[in-house]
């Protein structure tokens, strides 16, 4: 057993637990975007930062990749942590204004405004799709390519390979694809008044990121297919 302190309360967890797992076991909420039980912690979204150690040498670490160690002092809700999360969420909203998950988190953390221009990049590169494909579906059909400004989730040579079984797990875990806000414009993106799930559609989302080909949700064609638009048009004409 490992004994540590979270928000002033002593807690005990088994060896090998991460700080995030320890906190959640005790019902202490820590927001995450790139974490999913059953997948290797990745530490990409940084939303799960917590403050560890004693001031003035305390620092923020991602709780999902930090092991719970004996005597560790953790604060999950200090002003520093909250401030960092709010600034992160503001940036998330600007990056992916139509994700309901992100909007909900933002409003839960009191983010009232977004000072950045909305970019509609949508993909936040949480890596959930890459990991579920690799670790649970044992396919490894998608991965990250590039770095910095050009980094993106991609398929080998940008073509769907034979190892892709079209299972849809990537779509299932994607925090951005699911429950897309239908409001459509950046101005209303923080309204929180999202409609219920409706499949992402090419006509409103040119940059839809799912890797399904054809897309399971709209059952037309994957957005990465060069002929997607022609197909849509063809379908429309046929109708």
């Amino acid at each position: 057993m490992v004994r540590l302190t979270i928000n002033g309360s002593p807690v005990q967890v088994d060896e090998g637990y991460t700080v995030l797992e320890a906190a959640r076991m005790y019902g202490i909420p820590i927001p995450t975007l790139c974490h999913a039980d059953g997948l290797t912690p990745y530490g990409a979204c940084r939303l799960c930062v917590v403050e560890v150690g004693a001031a003035p040498r305390s620092k923020l670490v991602a709780s999902c990749t930090t092991r719970a160690t004996e005597g560790l002092v953790v604060r999950t809700n200090s002003a520093r942590v909250e401030h960092a999360r709010r600034l992160l969420l503001e940036l998330y909203v600007a990056t992916s204004p139509q994700s309901k998950r992100i909007q909900d988190l933002a409003s839960a953390h009191g983010v009232q405004e977004c000072r950045y221009e909305a970019k509609h990049e949508d993909c936040i590169q949480c890596g959930l799709c890459v990991r579920i494909c690799n670790e649970q579906m044992i396919a490894g059909a998608i991965g990250f390519a590039g770095r910095g400004t050009t980094r993106h989730v991609s398929r080998p040579f940008d073509r769907t390979s034979d190892v892709c079984r079209q299972c849809g797990a990537c779509l299932y875990v994607c925090p951005v694809c699911e429950l897309r806000c239908q409001a459509g414009t950046a101005d209303t993106a923080l309204c929180n008044g999202c409609l219920n799930f409706s499949p992402p559609c090419f006509n409103s989302y040119d940059d839809a990121m799912c890797f399904l080909d054809p897309c399971h949700a709209c059952e037309l064609a994957g957005p990465f297919r060069a002929d997607a638009r022609t197909k849509i048009r063809a379908t429309a004409t046929a109708r």
Binding site: A44, R46, A62, T65, T66, R67, L88, L91, I124, G148
Partner: protein, 638 residues
């Protein structure tokens, strides 16, 4: 020269090799040396060397022609050195192939109108001895200054670069003649591994890659770590813009790094070493690979090194030049063939590094320092430098200085000494505005703080870092907003992109700074910028992210007024930011020479020869070519 193959199995044989080396280092014939590091080659050293060989061959001159590494006086490249036995070594600067016959014809007298300085002797910190070139035959050559007198070299102490520019990097014999591999023999035969670690700890050596972690503590951690095999890695993934210290050492003295690594391997119980160097350093890769093969052939790598029971091998791993791969966990991932992305620490590489085994990663400079510490002892080494930063540090001094150079100074030397004395100050009567240290992770130190001593703590306190040793001097023609923009541009491309905060944060910071540089910023933007900078530094995983805001934060701290000028007055005080300046031609000064017309990229300059020219603002691309071409200062920037 045909390489002699040696089987060095004991000290006696090493001494025999050293004798050969001395004969080629200081031969009894005239010797011509050309600085053939990348910096020299870029300036045309290959052509010079070719011409020297051609002349020597054609005229059947009994001269020895040899290559050497970086002599360290970059602004004077290509450098050619001539040694006439019994006389000081004469250095010629900015040599062109055309001048070569002249120089050679004048021998044995030096052609003084082309010569820069003389080297009367070279100090060898490894042995503590000095080689006197002139053998007491008068140190002067026609009043040329000696290296010891030159401001550029007077303040330097060359420990890491002890052999750079002295020996032929391809010669193991010359390295041995300079005391090379003697420290290895001492470590293997006269010291226990734990003693070596103790000695390094006592020396106070700190990692030269940038963070300044005490090397001894790192070594102890690897030594204590459970698991085998253990690995040592040399981090030669140098990526800071304007920095080339590691390249200089690998190209000029590759055996010093190999010797340091073998000693490290012995001290830590590791039998395998990897040198991680970027493919963009083809010459460094070539030289270090050649040196490794040479050491293997000579029994200095392999089993039973120097007759001891220690076995050690080194391989070279080439990186694709990602800046982030200089971060140790990303570097390990890259060697293992995975994507070069940093991993959370702990576990530190000392516990779980390469292939999950205890690994010691040190920088090129650190490894090259190790043999000196072993040879001269920790007490000697720790006598150099400041209280908490020991020894010397190599800097690539670049930017707006008279002498751009690869220099090595004791820790604690002030920035003013480095910039004004060694660097010779800013040319053209301009003033130093700031000194940028530590590359993209570092910051800009303003001119008011030039008396700051160069050591880890002082630079940190000033909002910058020591970093790996890039030092960029900026004069009053530099716009600090533009500098921040430049480094952010570099960082947004080089961020591995794993942490959302670093990837998107650097992009957004770049956008805001760009907006300000275009005169479209608001004062609120500065708040957002500071918020972003804080967030990126706080929440990112690795050193790249946590230090990425430094260029912004340090310029905001010291040059806020410049940001405000861009925002409030919509002007760029340094007249750099294109959107905020305009070029005009002064009708009084312009004599209509027309020099600017053909250079104008936008074909915006109109007028008549010998009369007056004007710039059509709508077509002006603000490239600045006219300003540079005008000999009469008639082009004005507003």
């Amino acid at each position: 020269m045909v390489e002699r193959v040696h089987h060095i199995t004991d000290l006696e044989e090493l001494e025999r090799v050293a004798i050969h080396g001395r004969a080629s280092l200081y031969p009894e014939r005239i010797k011509i040396l050309v600085g053939m590091a990348t910096c020299g080659r870029a300036a045309g050293a290959e052509e010079v060397l070719e011409k020297v060989r051609e002349v020597v061959e054609k005229q059947k001159l009994p001269y020895i022609v040899a290559e050497t590494g970086c002599i360290g006086w970059c602004s004077q490249e290509p450098l050619l050195d001539i040694w006439v036995p019994g006389r000081p070594r004469v250095t010629y600067g900015r040599v062109t192939p055309k001048q070569v016959p002249d120089i050679l014809a004048a021998l044995p007298e030096a052609k003084t109108d082309l010569a820069l300085a003389i080297m009367t002797g070279d100090d060898n910190p490894l042995t503590g001895r000095r080689w006197d070139y002139s053998n007491g035959h008068g140190p002067k050559v026609d009043g040329l200054p000696s290296y010891a007198e030159l401001p550029l070299f007077r303040r330097q102490l060359r420990i890491v670069m002890r052999n750079c520019g002295i020996l032929d990097p391809a010669s193991l014999e010359e390295y041995a003649a300079r005391g090379g591999y003697h420290a290895l023999w001492k470590a293997l035969w006269q010291m226990q591994p734990a003693e070596v670690v103790r000695e390094v700890t006592a020396s106070g050596l700190r990692g030269r890659g940038g963070a300044g972690f005490p090397t001894g503590r790192k070594w102890q951690a690897v030594r204590d770590a459970k698991g085998s095999p253990k690995y040592v890695i040399c981090n030669a993934d140098e990526g800071d813009p304007g920095a080339y210290m590691d390249r200089g050492v690998l190209e000029g003295d590759p055996h010093s790094v190999i010797e340091g690594m073998i000693i490290g391997g012995y001290a830590l119980g590791a039998h395998e070493g990897v040198i991680y160097v970027r493919e963009e350093y083809p010459l460094a890769v070539e030289r270090i690979t050649a040196a490794i093969h040479q050491a293997e052939r000579s029994n200095l790598l392999g089993d039973r090194i120097l007759g001891s029971s220690h076995a050690f091998r080194i391989s070279v791993a080439k990186g694709a030049g990602a800046f982030v791969c200089g971060e140790e966990t990303a570097l390990i991932a890259s060697i293992e063939g995975r994507v070069g992305e940093p991993q959370p620490r702990p576990p530190y590489p000392a516990e779980k590094g390469l292939w999950g085994k205890p690994t010691c990663i040190n920088n090129v400079e650190t490894w090259a320092t190790v043999p000196v510490i072993v040879a001269r002892g920790s007490a000697w080494f720790s006598g150099i430098g400041t209280e908490r930063s020991k020894g010397t540090k190599v800097f690539s001094l670049v930017g707006s200085v008279a002498n751009t150079a690869l220099i090595e100074v004791p820790m604690g030397t002030t920035l003013r000494d480095v910039v004004e004395e060694i660097g010779g100050g800013v040319p053209g009567g301009h003033k130093v505005k700031a000194v940028q240290t530590g590359g993209p992770s570092g910051g800009c130190i303003p001119a008011e703080q030039l008396d700051l001593p160069v050591d880890y703590e002082s630079l940190n306190a000033a909002g910058s870092i020591m970093g790996s040793g890039g030092m960029i001097v900026m004069d009053d023609h530099t716009c600090m907003v533009d500098i921040a923009k430049y480094f952010l541009d570099f960082l947004q491309d080089e961020s591995c992109g794993k942490c959302f905060s670093c990837r998107v944060g650097t992009q957004r910071m770049k956008e805001i700074v760009t907006k300000i540089s275009e005169g479209k910023g608001t004062e609120q933007d500065l708040d957002v910028l500071e918020d972003l900078a804080w967030m990126v530094a706080e929440t990112s995983l690795c050193g790249l992210g946590t230090s990425a805001p430094n260029p912004v934060l340090s310029t905001l701290r010291y040059f806020r007024s410049e940001y405000l000028a861009h925002i409030r007055d919509r002007t760029c005080p340094a007249k750099v930011c294109k959107e905020l300046i305009s070029y005009t031609i002064d009708p009084v000064t312009c004599n209509g020479c027309g020099a600017c017309v053909s250079l104008c990229t936008g074909e915006a300059i109109t007028g008549e020869k010998n009369k007056l020219y004007t710039i059509e603002q709508a077509r002006c691309t603000k490239c600045g070519a006219c300003l540079e071409s005008c000999k009469f200062d008639a082009v004005l920037v507003n």
